[in-house]
């Protein structure tokens, strides 16, 4: 089963991995992406918003998503930038991955 890192993308850049290595790379990819996206989101918020967000830690995911949609309007753009930068790094180092 495909992890968050698409097998098609790896195939596109000429990287062939066995299942175990692929799963490890996919996990690392997701972890790195999460760190960068969350770091960018935190950077966008002011002090008051950060306190609100922290208070929502225990709330359900739907409420959290709604809050983010209102307070981080450029969220999709941030995610797209970080995904593209990270995929670009993978594409650039594709020779070393095989």
């Amino acid at each position: 089963m495909d992890g968050l890192l698409s097998r098609k993308f790896l195939d596109d850049i000429g990287v062939k991995l066995d299942e175990q290595t692929y799963q490890a790379l996919s996990e690392h990819y997701e972890e790195t992406l999460n760190e960068r996206v969350i770091s960018e989101i935190v950077d966008e918020l002011n002090e008051g918003q950060l306190k609100e967000l922290e208070a929502l830690k225990a709330a359900d995911e739907g409420l959290l998503q709604e809050w983010l949609a209102v307070n981080v309007p450029q969220l999709n753009e941030i995610i797209e930038d970080e995904i593209t930068v990270l995929l670009g790094e993978l594409a650039e180092s594709s020779d070393q991955l095989t």
Partner: protein, 270 residues
């Protein structure tokens, strides 16, 4: 004010460290000022604490969706470059696709650099901002460095492509020369002159051999000359396409005639 923002994470970290028996130095600083004795890394916001357990799953669906969108955009950009042609093999398509990902990455990296620079320019003048801006500048440097590495690779690749025809000619000449040499030695063997030829020493014998060879070539039939050169050209073309060094549409002249073949021969016997 900036310090208030991270107080909650710092307190949570303090509780954990106290429970583990560590020696965590609690912040005593006034807002906008830092305790000189306190290590800076203690002030870094723990982003994961802000979202808690949800951090791993919160954006997963959005990541998948946006990754699909990016892939579709790159495929559409690709269609403008790669013409639907059966001769464009899988290797070439992967090469184009990789280049397209890198170009797209550079464009988005520009957008991220602009965003980071705006934050640096608009940030308040405080020690904490100075530290955070230092991290932002490092990120900008990394993004710029990746772009310049990519640009440099593209320039080198383009130079190689431009020099390719000249290198191919040399390769073709080598193949043709080798073929002629093999045919000449076969002819010598037939005439049982090989031993005498091998024993030849001195300048005179070398000159005599060159004369024999030139005579041999002059006697070759036109069709045979054409065949040898065409085979060499096709072989070199095939090798370079397989290695991804040559575009599949690098043409072979179907009207190859004796005059053109002689030009090729001229280079090989000089």
């Amino acid at each position: 004010m900036a310090f208030e923002r991270i107080r909650a994470s710092v307190e949570a970290r303090q509780d954990r460290k106290d429970a583990a028996g560590g020696d965590f130095i609690r912040a005593r600083s006034q807002p906008e000022e830092l305790d000189a004795a306190r290590p800076l890394d203690a002030l870094i916001t723990d982003d994961r604490e802000i979202l808690g357990d949800k951090k791993d799953s919160l954006f997963r669906d959005r990541y998948r969706h946006i990754a699909d969108v990016i892939d579709t955009r790159i495929e559409k950009a690709e269609e403008r470059v790669i013409k639907p042609d059966d001769t464009v093999d899988e290797r070439q398509q992967k090469k184009y696709r990789r280049e397209k990902y890198l170009e797209y990455r550079n464009n988005r990296a520009d957008a991220k650099i602009a965003r980071l620079q705006e934050k640096i320019d608009n940030s308040p003048k405080s020690t904490l901002s100075k530290y955070i801006n230092h991290q932002r500048k490092q990120t900008i440097n990394i993004l710029n460095r990746n772009k310049s590495v990519f640009d440099h690779q593209q320039i080198k690749l383009e130079q190689k492509r431009q020099n390719k025809p000249e290198q191919l000619k040399k390769k073709i000449d080598q193949l043709v020369n080798r073929k002629i040499e093999a045919m000449y030695r076969r002819e010598l063997r037939k005439r049982r002159l090989l031993d005498q030829d091998a024993k030849g020493i001195g300048k005179y014998d070398i000159v005599k051999r060159a004369a024999h060879k030139a005579e041999f070539i002059a006697k070759m039939k036109s069709d045979e000359k054409k065949r040898i050169v065409r085979e060499a050209i096709l072989l070199v073309r095939k090798q370079n396409i397989e290695k991804g060094r040559l575009e599949p549409d690098y043409g072979v002249d179907d009207t190859l005639d004796s005059r053109k073949v002689t030009e090729h021969y001229g280079r090989t016997i000089e």
